[in-house]
């Protein structure tokens, strides 16, 4: 693995020092988990979840007590303008 490529995918900026440190630590961890390639998993189903429940559905309707006001939502935003979250310009 190349830690710089992965960091870009994860949208994390790394300093050179961090990149060197993580590269060696992650290589060591990957070497350890390599043991799983030795296990015979032919015909074994994957477990995504420890319980066998699927397709939990509810009525597709808003529930009044589960709503936050615009004010509540914006209260935690780092920058706001005109009752919206402000971001740097995306399209030049």
């Amino acid at each position: 693995m190349n830690v710089r490529d992965v960091a870009h995918l994860a949208r994390i900026h790394l300093t050179d020092e961090e990149a060197t440190e993580y590269q060696s630590q992650l290589d060591q961890i990957l070497q350890y988990v390599e043991q799983l390639s030795q296990i015979d998993v032919d015909g074994i189903e994957a477990t995504a979840h420890a319980e066998d429940i699927f397709d939990v559905i509810r009525e597709d309707a808003a529930i009044a007590t589960h709503q936050l006001s615009q004010e509540d939502v914006l209260a935690n935003a780092p920058e706001t303008a005109h009752d919206q979250i402000k971001m740097p310009k995306v399209v030049e």
């Binding site: 992965v6 949208r11 790394l14 961890i29 994957a46 979840h49 429940i53 780092p78």
Partner: protein, 473 residues
């Protein structure tokens, strides 16, 4: 009477006899925190005025009427800060709503009081990864309290809380409970709603109590368990009367001892304490039998692929856009993401996001993530087969007592390997409890050791019955 030193049941009695009021209890806790927590660091903050205001409208006839409960910092409680001990949220986020577990605690009369310290985003086994400040073991402040719910365990052990909520993704309730000498329960996956909890690994996370007694743990779990319309992974199963299991005998109970959990790597002094505990269970009428969980050796590798993969997806939401830290250095969109996440996340969180991103990335998914999910099936099958022979499984919680702060922090893999006895329960989705079983002396300190009991899916009553019988013996 110092309310801070009481258990839930004792405090309830003191209330009903008119010896104390919730305001007295909150004031005692605040005094105890001010006196002791500077050395321990179990709390990130507490808000006495808010709690006193809550106390005024509390229904004292409810099961937890007027009982203050410390809340791990990744559980939302309306009006309280919630930061998962991360710089990316700390000082920048006030919960606009209650997690279901907090709502349920309030409905039961409890008062959320204090934000318990933890490893950042619950990633760690020592609390050294808290992004805010270290937390120390009350039994020896040079040592770690365990993690990730280290603050929750430390404040219960230090008598700076009555009880606490924690979360357990790979042992994060049971291991700190063991190292701090308190009771900790990881419920069956789906037993307790995860709505309003900051997610780490969604197929593994569960919320549960840390308390001074087994009975208190049963009481709290009784109140927070049950179906939740806002968490589709929460089981639609009614909650049994856990407190009814308290005081029942364990004659004829079959206790399985996984041979892989008593093998190489287990500290001899810890092993001795656990073996003493097993003799006690036998003297109470339980029958112990050796069992095998053959895929144990693969559990750590499986866990660290699945947990980091899920974490990399869950933590994508911390991008500097809608809430939390936004870098002042960023001048374009990519910069907002990359710099905010670099400045906001600590080293272990970055390491796990990177690992998780890699194992999910194109070309590697089948070799790592999908394969780990298949091995997870094998690990789960080990437990299904074991529970055909036994009622509960007993083992150590952690291979060693609490180690010294800094002792393992430079070697992430060594730290991961110490989770060997706890992570399989999360992979299998079963329930577990840690109950104190004595202390071992190391470097002049008496350090607690916990006995782990694992139960079948939804077998929490078996755990409470067994742990309580042991605790009272």
């Amino acid at each position: 009477m110092n309310a801070a030193e009481l258990t839930i049941t004792q405090l309830r009695d003191a209330y009903s006899q008119g010896d104390l009021t919730p305001a007295d209890a909150l004031q005692s806790l605040a005094n105890a925190i001010d006196e002791k927590d500077g050395d321990i660091g179990g709390y990130l903050s507490y808000d006495l005025d808010r709690a006193l205001a809550d106390a005024e409208s509390v229904d004292m006839s409810k099961p937890l009427g007027g009982i203050p409960i410390a809340i791990k910092d990744l559980i939302n409680a309306e009006g309280h800060p919630c930061a998962a001990a991360s710089k990316i949220l700390h000082g920048k986020y006030i919960s606009p709503y209650d997690a279901t577990v907090v709502r349920k605690l309030r409905d039961a009369g409890a008062i959320p009081f204090g934000r318990a310290n933890m490893d950042e985003f619950a990633m760690g086994s020592s609390n050294e990864n808290s992004g805010i400040k270290p937390c120390r073991n009350p039994h020896d402040t040079d040592r770690i309290p365990g993690g990730s719910s280290g603050g929750s365990a430390a404040v219960v052990a230090a008598n700076t809380s009555i009880a606490a909520l924690g979360t357990d993704t790979g042992g994060s309730i049971r291991q700190p409970a063991s190292l701090c000498g308190v009771v900790g329960v990881k419920p069956t996956y789906g037993r307790v709603s995860r709505y309003g909890l900051i997610a780490f690994a969604s197929s593994l996370d569960q919320c549960g109590p840390l308390t001074k007694t087994v009975e208190d743990a049963a009481l709290v779990l009784q109140m927070i368990a049950g179906p939740c319309e806002r968490d589709s992974t929460c089981l639609d199963e009614s909650v049994p009367e856990y407190t009814a299991a308290i005081g029942k005998n364990i004659k004829g109970l079959k206790v399985g001892l996984p041979k892989e959990y008593f093998a190489e790597g287990l500290d001899p002094a810890v092993k001795g304490k656990v073996e003493d505990a097993l003799k006690t269970l036998e003297s109470l009428g339980a029958e112990t039998v050796e069992i095998s969980l053959p895929n144990t050796e693969h559990a750590v590798a499986t866990y660290y692929i699945i947990a980091t993969a899920e974490a990399s997806a869950n933590l994508a939401r911390f991008d500097g856009v809608r809430y939390g830290h936004r870098s002042a250095e960023a001048d374009d969109l990519l910069g907002v993401y990359e710099l905010s996440r670099d400045e906001g996340f600590g080293a272990e969180v970055k390491r796990r996001i990177l690992l998780g991103t890699y194992v999910l990335s194109s070309g590697y998914y089948d070799a790592y993530y999908l394969r780990a999910q298949k091995v997870r099936t094998l690990i789960r099958k080990d437990f299904t087969e074991a529970f055909e022979q036994v009622d509960v499984i007993a083992s150590p919680v952690s291979p060693t007592p609490a180690f010294k702060i800094g002792e393992k922090s430079s070697d992430p893999l060594a730290m991961y390997l110490a989770d060997i006895y706890t992570i399989s329960a999360n992979l299998a989705g079963i329930c577990g409890i840690s109950v104190p079983c004595g202390t071992v002396n190391e470097g002049g300190s008496d350090l607690p050791v916990g006995l782990q009991l694992l139960g079948k899916p939804l077998g929490e009553s078996d755990l409470f019955r067994t742990a309580h019988a042991f605790e009272q013996a």
